[in-house]
């Protein structure tokens, strides 16, 4: 009863294994962590994305059924077993090293500038009195170093979900940025980014550590 269905499934699975990725031969995408948005994966005549900020999209709908299973057979013929989903070997890119170098340069420049972090309460993005004092000094530094560009990073402690902490981190970064602007720092010199709970400065499961991680961190931009 399942013969027709299952044969199709197997043919499809085998053809994927042999040919690789049918229908995707026109790719011209780059690998690496800082690749630019590229074209070429669009289906239907390769229509280019005309809207800025949206890259090309492959067809990801499910075309097969039956899971490649053929069912039990009283006289089974031999099936070739592969490793399942094909996975490319990861490129040891130079990106990781470059990022490390840039992070170190950023950290050194920020430390030299003496910029201070703003700490936040649990679940909170309100700037405390201590935070206002820290930001006032940061603002003074920015005014006396008018060419410096600063990135305001929002961070969270490990509690809570990764996703919601990205939103919370952005709220913290924007709160710090807005206060700096209130103090007279040009908004065009400030960018914000949220790292959620993914770049902790401290890794213990304790409140003292959580407090250090709930921070708005000011980083002097050194590169692009």
């Amino acid at each position: 009863m399942t013969k027709t269905l299952c044969t199709c499934g197997v043919v499809l699975v085998m053809s994927m294994a042999l040919i690789g990725m049918p229908g995707c031969s026109k790719k011209s995408v780059q690998s690496g962590g800082d690749s630019q948005s590229t074209q070429g994966m669009a289906k239907g005549g390769g229509a280019d994305s005309s809207k800025s900020g949206v890259g090309s999209f492959p067809d990801t709908g499910v075309q097969s059924g039956g899971g490649g299973l053929r069912g039990l057979d009283k006289n089974p013929s031999e099936e070739r077993v592969g490793s399942g989903t094909m996975l490319a070997k990861v490129d040891p890119s130079s990106s990781a090293e470059r990022q490390m170098d840039e992070i170190r340069a950023e950290q050194a420049a920020s430390a030299a500038a003496g910029l201070r972090d703003v700490l936040f309460g649990y679940d909170s993005w309100t700037i405390s009195e201590d935070g206002r004092q820290a930001l006032s000094r940061d603002a003074e530094w920015m005014k006396s170093n008018p060419s410096a560009l600063v990135k305001v990073e929002g961070h969270c402690d490990e509690r809570g979900t990764a996703a919601y902490n990205l939103v919370l981190g952005e709220k913290r970064a924007k709160a710090a940025r807005n206060y700096l602007v209130e103090l007279g720092v040009g908004a065009n010199r400030l960018s914000v980014v949220s790292y959620g709970k993914e770049r902790p400065s401290c890794n213990e499961h304790a409140e003292s550590c959580y407090q250090q991680n709930r921070r708005g961190h000011l980083a002097v931009k050194t590169g692009k």
């Binding site: 790719k27 994305s49 900020g53 709908g61 031999e78 399942g84 809570g160 979900t161």
Partner: protein, 446 residues
């Protein structure tokens, strides 16, 4: 298959696995259609050995061990221990010989519905020799050897052979493709960075997919299993949504609108991408038509809206919003209309994922200051807390059969990945290496 009860017709309706559709169309009657109901009776199954027929000592035992674990995790079968029932497990070949009859009779008398056995061999002396495996199935209801499988492949894929055979067993008795060949994508720490990895559903064979040295977060599978879609940071300053093709490693940016661009989720048919973006101010949920590239804003609210997850029929989304204070779950149509709040218990509910069967939404709930996992029915009528104790649980993701959840937890100190049954039972740790494994995402069934 006569003693295998046909459990009543499909009631979910929303989800029709491709394989099941095929079976229904072919008019087969000897399948289970709903193995997640509480009254579902597991089928007793015994494994009468995967015998070594030449080759290294570990061979048959390894396959048998993997197969037994798969059978247990399927939740379709009740794995019985044959020796404890006094049932002998000699190699009975293809089950056609006279010696087999006695074993079958014993199994039937002891109430074992399905008996599975097989053998494996590897000609070690030969270079690049294949492992050969045979597996057979006796069904005591029909008192016959209903069939078997023969596999060949390199010694590196013996686990896959066991997985494949296990999925055939599930397919035979449920019409579903099984989960033993599924994969789990996740994030692991490497030198302070977060990189994407993919492993087998049982935690074996982890492979690294990205190596750019910064943050790659919260991967999700495309419906066809060929791509992952995830949040990445270009040069650490700009947050984008990227895709990577598993087979080639090719990677490109699909959403770079500025601001925060997070929590991408492809619709079940792949035609829409729901995601959260703050490019117009605060985080809102958007929907991209992947064919026309038209972007539609679904939420309009001064609070943070994020983490959309599709209902299996693609008609609705569950998402998180902190309108009114802390994060809570809300539902809306996939056009952004008919928004209503789903969770009212507790002041922090987030990271929702809609079950592929449609009947539950799993999420992170905060109770007594701990971040644990809960499920709620889409009508809000039923709610259960699944995990307890210390540690932050995060990022639940359903198995494609809807019977399991995978999630991250710091219960053992560092963040690791765990799976459990959908009712919170049988928690199994999947990762043991590294300092930070998180954001697991279970692949669709193949």
């Amino acid at each position: 298959m006569t003693q295998v009860k046909l459990i009543s017709a499909w009631f979910g309706g929303a989800l029709l696995l491709a394989g099941v559709v095929g079976i229904l169309e072919s008019g087969a009657a000897d399948v289970f259609l709903e193995a997640t109901r509480p009254d579902f009776q597991k089928i007793s199954l015994g494994v009468a050995g995967i015998h070594n027929a030449g080759g290294p000592d570990w061979l048959g035992g390894r396959i048998e061990e993997v197969l037994k674990k798969d059978v247990q995790r399927s939740l379709v079968f009740d794995l019985v221990d044959l020796p404890s029932l006094g049932i002998q497990t000699p190699d009975v070949g293809n089950g056609m010989g006279v010696g087999s009859k006695a074993v079958f009779k014993q199994a039937a008398e002891k109430g074992v519905s399905v008996l599975v056995w097989g053998k494996a061999s590897l000609k070690e002396a030969e270079k690049n020799a294949d492992v050969n495996m045979e597996g057979f199935v006796y069904d005591s209801g029909s008192d016959e050897v209903v069939g078997g499988k023969r596999y060949a492949g390199s010694p590196s894929v013996v686990r896959q052979m066991a997985h494949r055979f296990a999925d055939e067993l599930v397919f035979r008795y449920t019409g579903e493709p099984g989960i033993a060949r599924t994969k789990i994508a996740y994030v692991a720490e490497q030198g302070g960075a977060r990189e994407l990895f993919v492993m087998d559903y049982d935690g074996y064979d982890a492979r690294q997919l990205t190596a750019d040295g910064f943050l790659n977060l919260m991967p999700q599978w495309s419906p066809d299993r060929r791509f992952l879609i995830f949040t990445a940071y270009r040069n650490r300053n700009t947050q984008d949504i990227d895709m990577i093709e598993l087979a080639t490693g090719k990677r490109w940016t699909v959403i770079s609108l500025g601001g925060l661009n997070i929590t991408p989720a492809l619709s079940p048919d792949g035609n829409f991408l729901a995601f959260a973006s703050s490019h117009e101010g605060n985080s809102e949920v958007y929907r991209l038509d992947t064919r026309t590239k038209a972007i539609q804003r679904l939420t309009v609210n001064p609070s943070g809206d994020l983490s959309p997850s599709w209902s299996p029929n693609g008609r609705e989304l569950v998402f998180v919003s902190d309108r009114g204070g802390g994060p809570q779950l809300f539902l809306m149509g996939s056009d952004g209309l008919n928004v209503r709040r789903l969770t009212f218990e507790g002041d922090y509910n987030a990271a929702p994922v809609w079950s592929p069967r449609g009947n539950w939404i799993a999420y992170v709930c905060r109770t007594h200051k701990e971040y644990k996992l809960c499920v709620i029915s889409p009508d809000g009528q039923k709610r259960m807390q699944l995990t307890t104790g210390p540690g932050v649980d995060d990022s639940p993701s359903w198995s494609p059969d809807g019977r399991h959840l995978v999630f991250s937890s710091t219960a053992d100190g560092k963040s690791h990945i765990y799976m459990m049954d959908a009712d919170g039972k049988d928690i199994e740790r999947l990762t043991f290496q590294g300092t930070h494994n998180s954001a697991p995402s279970w692949s669709p069934a193949s």
